[in-house]
Symmetry: C2
Subunit: 326 residues, 2 copies
């Protein structure tokens, strides 16, 4: 048995004769070492856990795909847990994954700064890579970020150049992407020396908030001439509200969104978007983790770009001061 083990793990203390003898038997019996026993003895499972807010979200699904591919190529399997947007579940899942003896953790938590989650991450004892979330430095996690700020600054810059001054940015709950996008917006105004005549509507990254927030600003005393949606769900909601107000995108109002989906491309007129490469994000996050699984370098950081693509949904604001309402 010891020799079999040595042969199969390429230990140097094995004669050629023994090697062939073992291999022949292995072949004959189609023997395969038991993964559990191996993991137990070696103290590693070649498995990583991925805790996320919501896998049914396209962005997440693409990240998962990228990560899974990268991990699989290096012999790791991925256990996936879905918090369904519930911050309390994040911590629970991290603990469960720890018990399952994962070798490392990929996290894109539903909520940022949940005490239990932060504690769980600190105590987990395995390398952690956090994906597009701000976590206390003390967690000691590697991080992969999107530079949402840059893309948003470009988008807002484009609208400002077109002559817009009142812009509404509809965002979700307050976590890294939200904060960065808001900063991008502010920077676009301030770098042009313009007074901040925009509003930011934070809520949830869902359709309902998209509709509600957009309706609210359109009904307000000083409605925006351009709306930017912070996600495709928000976009859907925003479009619904805009439609209900009888406004035509790219004529009565300008519209931009984050993340390309079939809707943005094929809508009439096509909708400008801030792009990013989610699959790449998955791959890079996995790489950050793998780095720390062999060797034990200090936590790494990767930042991926986002970029704006103008489209006919963004036009110069109508000259009319006040538009018709529904």
């Amino acid at each position: 048995m010891s020799s079999v083990s040595r042969v199969l793990t390429n230990h140097p203390d094995v004669s050629e004769k023994m090697r062939t003898r073992v291999m022949r038997s292995v072949e004959a019996l189609s023997y395969e070492p038991d993964w559990l026993a191996q993991s137990l003895r070696r103290r590693e499972t070649q498995t990583v856990g991925f805790t996320m807010a919501d896998i049914s979200n396209r962005v997440m699904a693409e990240i998962v795909m990228g990560a899974e591919t990268e991990l699989r190529e290096r012999g790791y399997s991925m256990i996936l847990t879905n918090s369904e947007g519930d911050g309390n579940r994040d911590a629970q899942h991290i603990i469960t994954l720890g018990r399952r003896r994962v070798d490392g953790l990929l996290v894109a938590t539903a909520v940022e700064g949940n005490r239990a989650t932060v504690r769980a991450l600190k105590e987990t004892g395995v390398p952690v890579v956090v994906i597009d979330r701000n976590l206390p430095r003390t967690v000691g996690a590697s991080a992969a970020y999107f530079d949402h700020r840059a893309g948003m600054r470009e988008a807002v810059g484009h609208l400002l150049e077109l002559g817009h001054r009142r812009i509404s940015l509809v965002l979700g709950q307050r976590f890294r992407p939200t904060i960065e996008r808001r900063s991008g917006l502010e920077e676009a105004y301030s770098e042009r020396g313009l007074s901040p005549t925009f509003d930011v509507l934070e809520g949830h990254y869902d359709e309902q908030h998209g509709t509600d927030a957009t309706t609210r600003v359109l009904d307000g005393p000083d409605p925006p001439t351009a709306v930017i949606a912070g996600s495709n769900q928000l976009l859907t909601g925003a479009l619904r509200a805009i439609k209900r107000h009888g406004l035509k995108v790219g004529r009565d109002i300008s519209l931009a969104s984050c993340d390309e989906v079939s809707l943005t491309e094929l809508y009439e007129p096509p909708i400008a978007v801030v792009h990013r490469d989610n699959t790449e994000m998955g791959r890079r996050s996995a790489q950050l983790l793998l780095e720390r699984l062999r060797g034990d370098p200090p936590p790494g950081v990767v930042t991926l770009p986002t970029w704006f693509e103008p489209r006919p949904s963004c036009v110069a604001p109508a000259k009319v001061a006040r538009r018709s309402r529904k």
Copy 2:
């Protein structure tokens, strides 16, 4: 140690005194049984594998979400593998998951009827639930199906009632959903005693095929008055082709698709779709598996409905015999 084990697993042979004594120590040491050791000894890992074609596909992502939720509630974790549409990888992943000692398998393979995959499933030795794929009966798998046929029959029926006779159905590679949709189309014609003046264009469930196939039929000698896309990717492609031909959906040509996405709902005009509940599919598949993990009942079968929702993208065919081309 034995007593600790008995207490923690609720074995009946434990006195009340021992129970409290153990629990007190467990508390004090915050002891937790090692998952690997437990799995090794009990010969079960409370883990299931999910092999799928493509997690970045929205339909799959929703199924995964449903399944993960259901499994997690019963204490199971899910390992996810993604075949990236490559049939050869399916078999590989099934074998890998087997080695990982998963207790059961959820499969929505990229390819149907791959020899290696079928063999791997037969040999895996754990319960299998196949999701919306046809597998040889000999595999002994439980199955969860969508009734694509019914939804498609409704959709085509609707178009036929509107007066369409030349309908093009754009589908992907030949596997269960494809075959069922085709049957639905055929049935809609035949149950009205109409001669089958439709064409079915099989290819891949991707945008490219959507564009190519649609372009081909629109350029053909006898172009369809209605097109049905078999997925949202195909829809995107089809819309692109229709646009390029300078046709207006809901006026020059009728269009329907499968699966609701923001595009179908918000397109101008809104696009009719065949609906289905993917999350429910995930849940039910997981339930089928869980059923077989406790007890060992014979393989079960579940069929979930699909249903058609007419929308303004479907109108009576234009009276003009031949429409303008680009």
